[in-house]
Amino acid sequence: MTVLEQPGAYRPAPPPAWRPRTDPAPLLPDREPYRLLGTGAELDPTLLRTLHGHLVRGRRYNRQATALTKQGRLAVYPSSTGQEACEVAAALVLEERDWLFPSYRDTLAAVARGMDPVEALGLLRGDWHTGYDPYEHRVAPLSTPLATHLPHAVGLAHAARLKGDDVVALAMVGDGGTSEGDFHEALNFAAVWRTPTVFLVQNNGFAISVPLAKQTAAPSLAHKAVGYGIPGRLVDGNDVAAVHQVLSEAVERARRGEGPTLVEAITYRLDAHTNADDATRYRDDAEVETWREHDPVELLEREMTARGLLDEATRERAHEEAEEMAARLRARMNEDPVLDPMDLFDHVYAEKTTQLREQAERLRAELAAEGAEENGEGDER
């Protein structure tokens, strides 16, 4: 059976014989966002502790990165403050051999997956585009053109399956990104080819300034799954245990060869779109305050405290570790990166064209002249 001969795939038949390919009922998302924290559900204490450490460090990472923009050490930072539960869970549900496809807001997910934070921030510092080797942690380049990386996740998962590898690709996109044609095409390819792909939509209520109501009229974004013939799941995106659970199920489903899942996580961006954005133009502080009461870090700490899993010492240790991480990051980001302008020509093609060789020579001559003039000051800025 080729990957295209899916069970249940339908051919048209004259209407007396028509039947839906699958029963749509099981594809419909949860009637309300799936939650675990505060529900009294059974939860794995070790997992909660791991998630807690990540959340605390993640929050601190967001704060530190934002601070680095003020110090001119980052060109820009799109913060995921308030969305750490999604970022962390997305990273932790994956095996080493799996792939993560982050969008431009998801450096934290990459860091939670084990990436050096300085490399993760390379794009936003501005010394190169993708600051890391995608193959090292199997993290695709951060995608700035929205939703364009979703078909990549589908293609990669498809290729892995063709090669017989049980690799899952998890792709992250925002509520705004679901409006793009690429979102539609990716989900459709994934559904038709049954690729092991998990689509995580972080619905944080806004695409920059545009609220969800101007983005979609759907009952929920998870309902879009039905139109592709794949299951949709709806989850409280600030409940890290719930996000972890729902994503794990989706990843396992994919790994079992049962195809893609669309997960909508309802969350909120507490910071402005980026440091350059003025969020007061499009939303009230009151709304932000409502969401602070549903903060992912606090939700988890409250739950763990209630369950006796978080004593003050543990809590403090987590926060101390986060401070150390932040201090290390700050120190390293305060070093000027050493850049070689000649790199500009090295990675356009496998081999430089004659024209690029000429252009490289011209730049080299300019730099030499500059260097001579400036008495060896070189070309770092």
């Binding site: 700035t144 300034s209 024209q355």
Partner: protein, 359 residues
């Protein structure tokens, strides 16, 4: 970058009556505002153009003044935005579409190439599409990848589009008004790094500017002509100033519109000076400079003392912020090209007989 302008669009309108320093951003904002006030069929649409006023604040205050139906935040889908604008234009509206950044206009290319550019032609003139597509373009603002492309070559290669780009505050207003008033689709390229450039200019009595399709000599000179547009105009003017030290008196031609192309003004200048350098940020290979240099050479061959040279971005993807200054054509590179215009040449004007051949 954004904080610098918070609220200025609105305030500016109320207070400025005489010629005072105004930014290109303000002039663009005012152009849309005036067009909307004068013509109820003008509608602005795009991502974040409403409450936010656009990420560059160019549409600041328009929703407040004209309502959400006239200046509309769309869902996040560029092909959808432009495609919807096509339908609106079919029904007699005059949509002004904002693409948030150059590279984010790419998803709309099919709509642009297969419909916007061709609709008048496909329908034998019955269904013109008076759509303005505003595209902030170019680099020099420290933007991360996909935020600094110079995409004008794509637009130039598409018959049916006008391609316009201002370099001055007065042109920003005048050309955008003209673009919105045009019955043809206009790709209106806004040089991002000139958004905050200033000039004395009165929003109440904006000075008239030449129409779309005319180039302007921004600086008269005799030694050689710099042919340029958009973000490279200030660079060329600076280079011309610096060139005086070397004894060159450079003429600077600002194209203002790449399509239609003003052969007359450009060729008149080059015939006078006998030498030309084309300057732009877009990559050299396959970029606008090739067309421009080729046209000049076809038309002015026997007036040329040296080949028309080009100073352009390298043939590479736009570099990361920390390296962009090496990529962007700056004053030194322009002067270097001028120096290579074979000043030692013993060339002299050829007899009249040959002139006829320059078609």
């Amino acid at each position: 970058m954004t904080t610098a302008t918070t609220g200025t669009g609105q305030d500016a309108r109320k207070t400025e009556t005489a010629r005072k320093p105004a930014t290109m951003a303000q002039a663009l904002n005012r152009a849309m505002r005036d067009a909307m006030a004068e013509d109820p069929t003008v509608h602005v649409l795009g991502e974040d153009v409403g409450a936010l006023g656009g990420v560059f604040r160019i549409t600041d205050g328009l929703t407040k003044e004209f309502g959400e139906d006239r200046c509309t935040d769309t869902p996040l889908a560029e092909a959808g935005i432009l495609g919807t604008a096509v339908g609106m234009a079919m029904y007699g509206l005059r949509p002004v579409v904002e693409m948030q950044f150059d590279a984010f206009a790419y998803p709309a290319f099919e709509q642009l190439l297969s419909h916007v550019a061709k609709m008048r032609n496909r329908t034998r003139g019955r269904m013109p599409l008076p759509i303005t597509v505003r595209v902030p373009y170019g680099g020099g603002i420290g933007g991360v990848e996909h935020h600094s492309d110079s995409s004008e070559a794509y637009y130039m290669a598409t018959p049916g589009l006008h391609v316009v780009t201002p370099a001055t505050v007065a042109d920003a207003y005048g050309l955008l008004r003209a673009a919105i008033a045009s019955d043809d689709p206009v790709v209106f390229l806004e040089p991002k790094r000139l958004y905050w450039s200033r000039a004395d200019w009165s929003p109440e009595a904006p000075e008239p500017v030449a129409p779309i399709g005319r180039a302007e000599v921004r600086r008269a000179g005799t030694s050689a002509t710099l042919v340029t547009y958009g973000p490279s105009v200030p660079v060329c003017l600076e280079a011309a100033d610096a060139a005086r030290e070397e004894g060159w008196d450079l003429e600077v031609v600002d194209l203002r519109s790449l399509v239609p192309f003003d052969d007359e003004t450009v060729c008149a200048s080059v015939r006078r000076t006998g030498r030309a350098v084309v300057v732009h940020e877009a990559s050299g290979f396959g970029g606008p400079g090739g067309e421009i240099a080729a046209r000049i050479t076809e038309r002015c061959f026997h007036h040329l003392e040296a080949p028309v040279l080009r100073v352009a971005g390298f043939d590479i993807p736009y570099p990361p912020p920390m390296l962009e200054r090496h990529h962007l054509p700056g004053v030194d590179r322009v002067l270097d090209a001028v120096a290579r215009l074979q000043w030692e040449s013993e060339w002299t004007e050829r007899p009249e007989a040959f002139e006829g051949g320059t078609r």
